[in-house]
């Protein structure tokens, strides 16, 4: 990771990189499901408990 990554446009420079990206696009990488809304809601309730005094 790099802070310099924020706000940049990344350019796919050549055919080699494009071919690798096509391979990525055509691959199937399942995402482990997490109920993110629920988790954020729990965090929000906890924050209120901590700071609404």
């Amino acid at each position: 990771m790099a802070t310099s990554s924020f706000g940049r446009t990344v350019e796919i420079k050549d055919d080699k990189a494009a071919a690798r990206l096509i391979k990525v696009a055509e691959s199937h990488k399942p995402i482990k499901k997490i109920d993110i809304s629920k988790e954020i809601e729990r965090g929000r309730s906890f924050l209120k408990e901590c700071y609404s005094r």
Binding site: M1, A2, T3, S4, S5, F6, G7, R8, T9, V10, E11, I12, K13, D14, D15, K16, A17, A18, A19, R20, L21, I22, K23, V24, A25, E26, S27, H28, K29, I31, K32, K33, I34, I36, S37, E39, I40, R42, G43, R44, F46, L47, K48, E49, C50, Y51, S52
Partner: protein
Amino acid sequence: MLFPLRDFLRTTKNKELVSEELSRFECSLDPQVCDFLRKDAIAYESDHKSRTYLLVERNDPKDEHRTILGYVSLALTTLKIGDTVDEEMRARLKADQKANTIACYLIGQLGKNDLYRRQTDGSDLVDRAMNVFKQGHEWFGGRFVLVECRDVPKVIAFYEANAFEYVQTDAARELLQYFRPLAEP
């Protein structure tokens, strides 16, 4: 549980307090991870450049401090297909025809807190980031998740284990660019 930094700021209405909590984050493996959270994350949030999510352990609400196990900072980014890339490949990538661009997401920073290193796994942070992106992907699109990292075997192994694939190197910035798909083929 997950605290969006935005919620932390809204609930406390106290930037200094939040800043003090973030300043307790330690990451000796990569000082930039620590510096970003301590110095930039709040400003990036206010300027809508990124959204930071803190992985926090539930402790006694009366405790003075929160236990930040790790964090991840996410953003939007654009991928441009270079002019020299073959027409057929361009078509297969389904880039926008006029601008030659693809909408993507970025994991800009990700790190665990040294103080609680054993209480969480970096993959927990990647999984949460991917679920946040997946929600965005369902609502308004976006094809890939990008992460840029230094050429450090441990870091590379981590991203490869988390289903990111190497695409190219930004030689000028000495950063490797890894991608993971959001859309199913």
